[in-house]
């Protein structure tokens, strides 16, 4: 048997052994046995010292060819075995993906905060600035400066909590019209959110505490048409771009002309249903051109300047938006209620 035949026979044996190896440890052993420093293939090279000089290159070449063949086979086997190992590990890793995930605690802002933010952001985009005012307020600001002197019939629409004859809980955010205009000269664009209070028995539609967002814009040549445009933009921004917005005459002592702003009913689309009391319309706020007397009260000349004011209730807006049927839900703070608003 020539040395070349011996190499061929070893190669054959090695390859057939390799086919039977099914783990990486076995593969390492096989590699050591044939390709290692003390392996069989190296043995042939070591044995070349006894060969004729002209045979040496030939045998060397045969050994190298065999080495390449074995290394290639080794690489192939390694890839297969590695793939098998990975497959096994992945199979062992498998989970029931229908098991519940690990809970992550997240918090939410109150639904009224959310609505107030929406209202404020809409007006901020139109150049209005946010201000706040006191909740414990003077009769002077809450009523008198707003054209409601003592005995004025409109006061009967404001059931008022009093601390003393002249100090009360504000019944609306409108006193801030006065507070803002006292401090700032036109042009003015301000939005004032905050808590307000009425001494009313509570039921599904009445709370003794509720929020309002008050806004005013004062400058030369501000018109009722501007009021329409600004508030219609607001209504469509909050309730949808295809909403119909209706303006009708209404009365508040501190505006003239007075305006009531409604949108077509979100429930019935204006056909008439229980939610809109069969009118097809939902009131969303009161508004109007600031009464000349109110402007005069704060030293703004009504012949030169005009402006509009508006006020709305975030609770009502939220109730319309989310179809909430009981205003008392808001300040009961039941987390099962509050957590419904993303």
């Amino acid at each position: 048997m020539t040395i070349t035949d011996q190499i061929a026979s070893m190669q054959e044996r090695a390859l057939s052994e390799l086919d039977r190896i099914d783990d990486l440890v076995g593969l390492d052993e096989w590699r050591l046995k044939y390709l290692g420093k003390k392996g069989e293939l190296t043995g042939f090279l070591r044995g070349m010292g006894g060969l004729a000089a002209e045979e040496r290159p030939v045998v060397g070449q045969v050994v190298n060819t065999a080495r390449r063949a074995l290394e290639e086979a080794d690489g192939g086997r390694l890839a297969i075995l590695q793939a098998q190992v990975l497959t096994k590990r992945l199979a062992a890793d498998r989970v029931d993906v229908t098991l519940p995930g690990r809970p992550v605690e997240t918090g939410r802002v109150h639904v009224i905060t959310r609505t107030v933010r929406e209202i404020v952001a809409t007006f901020q985009a139109m150049g209005f600035q946010v201000m706040e005012g006191p909740e414990v307020e003077l009769d002077f600001y809450n009523f008198q400066q707003l054209n409601m002197p003592p005995g004025h019939p409109a006061r009967s629409m404001h059931d008022t909590f009093y601390f003393s004859e002249s100090v009360l809980l504000r019944t609306h955010t409108s006193p801030n019209q006065i507070r803002v205009m006292e401090k700032q000269a036109p042009p003015i664009r301000v939005i004032v959110p905050g808590k307000t209070y009425r001494s009313e028995a509570t039921d599904a539609t009445h709370e003794f505490m509720f929020y309002q967002c008050e806004g005013i814009a004062v400058d030369r040549n501000i018109t009722l048409a501007d009021l329409h445009g600004t508030l219609a933009d607001f209504a469509r921004s909050l309730f949808g771009t295809d909403r119909k917005v209706r303006f009708r005459c209404d009365y508040f002592p501190y505006v003239e002309p007075g305006v009531d702003v409604s949108i077509d009913c979100l429930v019935c689309g204006g056909v008439g249903c229980r939610s809109c009391k069969y009118t097809g319309w939902l009131e969303i706020m009161g508004a109007g051109m600031i009464h000349p007397q109110v402007l005069s009260n704060v030293g703004i000349d009504p012949e030169e300047y005009s402006g509009f004011a508006f006020g709305m209730g975030p609770e009502r807006i939220s109730m319309l938006k989310y179809a909430i049927d009981d205003i008392r839900q808001f300040y009961r703070n039941d987390l099962r209620f509050l957590s419904q608003f993303a």
Binding site: R108, F208, R248, Y251
Partner: protein
């Protein structure tokens, strides 16, 4: 507010619109129609029948037998009513018709189960079925008014208008459509049929038809019968009266009863009904006196004497003061002016002579009296407090007397007493045409503005060549040369009808123009012009930031009522004893506000709705704990915050300080029960002081306050009795060399938890933070270089006395480590063997952060030695490798 039956309204104006269109039009013009009520919609199978014959019932004296034709056939009807004659038209109920059971109503009233008005509340009904009455077949029912619900009349059959078409469904003849108007306080002028008719006329281009008033005045002169004296002309600008003698008191006719009922008023007797009818018709409240009860035949308008008593027609006796205006005779008071009449002089069944008053009263005074003395305001009061047209007294009284003469007979004394010391002249307003575009944003021609105003009975003047103005409607009235200010030729002079008390200035006319033009036709334009200087609202932005940070920490926001109960505030002090009180009032001024239930420092309502909401909160804690307790009934884990104000009265100030405040509350399992956390109920897995502190620390870090600037000072005995004395701290921030008190945090004292119905064994973490103290502690956020050089991490373990606060050790390490030591994390705390009794082992991970070059071994070990040395020297620490 006012119910307007359209069949009545039709007397004064043609109604060409459907009820829905009419309601829409009025609503758009500021007269809000709250509801359209349609009566008679339940009158199926009730038709107009013609009485063909009436015969006695052969077997019963108290019954008659009618033949009634419905236009196609005759029905035999047996009835107990005797008010019919042949040829009458009546409501005929055929088989299957549903009627109100009048007998049952009357029986229930007799048994005391029902009080008048009978037609209120749940009503009993019956279905018409043919049957025999005393042996004779009755095929249908002749119907009384009560059975239809149109009035309380049940004695006789309702006789219809002779023009009613036989066989027509009754709803077409008697069905009523009623507009229910909800009127704002400025709309006193619309509280009558004429008032509404005016608006309808203006809307549809018509003129109002007034009732024609003719009276036969053939009695003695009224001046011989009655004198009127006004002692308080400031409260009574006008008083008119007439006298009618020899009237017969009886029920008013069916048509009047029906109208009053439809308008929501109960018929009583003809004279009283007429006063109400005229009030509803023209808007002038009238008062009828029994003339023979007026002693001295003199009416005096005067203020009440202090302590004077008056029994009103509701039979309540009032003790009065001089703020109440009275109508009196020579000897005593007869009624409260404009509010309610007196019992002694009211019209009764025996009355034969009537004095009829139509007066004008000061609105504010009526309002004050009506709301001060009565729980509900009378119909007259409602009108007077909104102001009534001063020209209406005469017309109202004449209309009343006319109807009395027609419906009650009697002789009318000649003339009228009309005391009107200072006649009011109509107001004239100058309106530059340019005001229309300036305020409405639309251009209207002069003619158009004139047309819109004239539709509402405003009189607009034309400028004549001689420079004077002449009014178009009333050419006799003209104003020569209006003032110098009115030289603008575009100004309109507008004369305001006296009934428009609500129109006093230009802007009021602008509204009239706008609502007649139609708000819906005014375009939508956008604001133009210069914006205000945009200055951010730091406080608003800061609070919004707090909300975002805290929600990201897993807390839910709540909003509670700032009005709280004193009892709940007192619960916060459940653990207070005398020592605490002394301490709380002691020398720590920043803690003064923790004394929450001292009434002297509370803002308390004078007129609370209930004791539950009586006091403005000086702390958010009571509401927080209440909210926690409420929620714990349904959910295990409650982690909430509130951003709101507390209200602190200030010495020498009218208004309190409204301090923006943040509260936190944490209770329950740290993680909800799940397969990852099956031991959620285990005490070690429940939220405690350190969860709360961690939340506060995260919040502060996110607000750019380094942890090193925070100081958590253990509460001293007595200075925060709401909290667990061993698990609570005051929070200070060191800022530019100053210590700022920010608030406190800790577990609630078990006694307080118990008071709020929480489990006293459960740990409830709460914190209250003064947002206003925190807000100024803001510095510019400066970028720190992020190094790519390797950082050096080392662990340091030391043993110190158990009494040494960990915070002190940590602060010392940090301080000594200086700039290079960027992180000091306590990762192990151990007591027990082999650590000696009274000591504890603390292990810290230190991270050294190279500044501009790689740290060398020597640098780090030098720093470490310095740290260790100081801990050993100053804290007696031993190092443990």
């Amino acid at each position: 507010m006012i119910k307007v039956p359209l069949s009545w309204l039709k007397d004064y104006v043609d109604i060409t619109l459907s009820p829905e269109e009419l309601a829409e039009g009025l609503t758009l013009r500021g007269l809000e129609v709250g509801a359209i009520i349609k009566t008679g919609t339940g009158w199926d199978k009730v038709v107009v029948g013609l009485v063909e014959s009436i015969e006695k019932h052969p077997n019963a004296d108290r019954l008659v037998v009618l033949q009634v034709n419905d236009g196609s056939r005759s029905y035999q009807v047996v009835t107990g009513a005797f008010n019919l004659k042949e040829g009458d038209k009546i409501p005929l109920a055929l088989e299957g018709a549903r009627l109100i059971d009048g007998h049952k109503l009357i029986d229930e009233e007799a048994a005391g189960k029902r009080i008048r008005p009978l037609l209120a509340g749940e009503l009993p009904y019956f279905s018409v079925r043919p049957g025999k009455m005393r042996g004779l077949e009755s095929q249908a029912v002749a119907v009384a008014a009560l059975e239809l619900g149109v009035s309380e009349e049940f004695e006789g059959i309702l006789v219809l208008d002779p023009t009613a078409p036989v066989g027509a469904p009754l709803v077409e003849v008697l069905g009523e459509t009623i507009l229910d108007l909800e009127l704002s306080p400025n709309l006193g002028r619309v509280l009558s049929m004429i008032g509404v008719a005016r608006e309808v006329a203006a809307m549809t281009g018509q003129k109002v038809r007034w009732p024609e008033i003719t009276i036969q005045e053939d009695g003695p002169s009224v001046s011989e019968k009655l004198s009127v004296q006004i002692d308080a002309s400031d409260l009574c600008p006008r008083f008119s009266a007439m006298i009618i003698e020899g009237v017969e008191i009886k029920p008013s006719p069916a048509w009047m009863q029906r109208r009053l009922s439809a308008a929501g008023m109960r018929p009583i007797s003809n004279i009283v009904d007429i006063t109400n009818y005229v009030m509803l018709e023209v808007g002038q409240p009238l008062h009828a006196y029994d003339y023979d009860d007026i002693r001295g035949h003199q009416l005096i308008v005067r203020r009440a004497e202090a302590g004077e008593k008056l029994e009103t027609i509701d039979h309540k006796v009032h003790e009065l003061g001089p703020e109440v205006l009275l109508v009196a005779d020579a000897e005593r008071s007869l009624g409260m002016a404009g509010v309610m009449g007196g019992a002694e002089s009211e019209v009764k069944d025996s009355t034969t002579n009537v004095a009829l008053e139509g007066a004008n009263w000061n609105p504010a005074n009526v309002r004050q009296t009506a709301r001060g003395l009565f729980s509900t305001v009378s119909e007259a009061g409602k009108r007077f407090e909104r102001s009534v047209d001063i020209e209406l007294t005469v017309l109202g009284v004449r209309r009343g007397i006319q109807l009395m003469q027609e419906l009650a007979g009697g002789q009318v004394a000649q003339g009228m007493v009309d005391v009107y010391p200072q006649p009011v002249s109509p107001r004239v307003i100058e309106l530059p045409l340019s005001e229309v575009p300036r305020l409405l944003g639309i251009e209207l021609a002069r003619d158009e503005v004139t047309r819109l105003l004239e539709a509402l009975e405003f009189d607009v003047a034309d400028l004549r060549p001689d420079g004077s103005y002449q009014f178009r409607q009333d050419p006799k009235q003209f104003t020569i040369m209006v003032s110098e200010t009115s030289t603008t030729s575009d100004a309109l002079l507008v004369r305001v009808p006296t009934y428009r008390n609500d129109v006093t200035i230009k802007a009021d006319l602008i509204e009239e123009i706008a609502r007649m033009y139609g708000y819906d036709k005014i375009p939508e334009t956008r604001l133009r012009g210069e914006l205000t200087a945009q200055t951010p609202n730091r406080s608003w932005q800061f609070e919004d930031r707090l909300r975002d940070i805290l929600t990201s920490c897993g807390l839910d926001e709540v909003i509670t009522y700032p009005l709280v109960s004193l009892a709940n505030l007192q619960k916060l002090h459940s653990a207070v004893d005398e020592n605490h009180r002394a301490a709380a009032n002691g020398t720590r001024p920043h803690l003064q506000h923790l004394n929450w239930s001292d009434p002297a420092h509370l803002l308390r309502l004078a007129n609370p709705l209930s004791v539950e909401h009586e006091v403005m909160r000086p702390t958010l804690l009571a509401s927080s704990l209440e909210t926690v307790a409420e929620n714990r009934r349904f959910v295990e884990r409650v982690a909430i915050f509130e951003i709101g104000k507390v209200y602190l009265p200030q010495e020498g100030q009218t208004l309190p300080q409204e301090r923006h405040t943040l509260s936190l509350a944490l209770v329950g399992p740290r993680q909800p029960l799940s397969r990852f956390n099956p031991k959620a109920a285990d005490p070690a897995e429940r939220l405690d002081f350190f969860d709360l502190k961690g939340t506060v620390e995260s919040l502060m870090e996110r607000l750019n306050l380094p942890l090193a600037a925070l100081e958590f000072e253990p509460v001293a005995p007595g200075d925060a009795p709401v909290l667990h004395p061993g698990r609570a701290a005051h929070l200070w921030v060191r800022w530019e060399g100053q210590r700022h008190y920010i608030g406190f945090l800790g577990e609630v004292h078990p006694k307080v938890a118990d008071a709020f119905n929480l489990d006293p064994l459960e740990r409830v973490g709460v914190a209250e933070i003064n947002i206003e103290a925190l807000l100024p502690l803001q510095k510019r956020e400066l970028y720190q270089t992020v190094t790519r050089l390797p950082v050096v991490t080392q662990d340091l373990a030391i043993v110190v006395s158990d009494e040494t606060p960990a915070g002190q050790v940590q602060a010392m390490i940090r301080e000594t480590g200086g700039k290079l030591l960027t992180e000091v994390t306590l990762f192990d705390l151990y007591r027990g063997k082999p650590i000696p009794e009274g000591k504890k082992s603390l292990a810290f991970r230190l991270v050294f952060y190279p500044q501009d070059k790689t740290l060398t071994e020597e640098e780090v070990s030098r720093l470490r030695q310095r740290i260790e040395g100081r801990l050993v020297r100053e804290l007696g620490a031993e190092t443990r490798g």
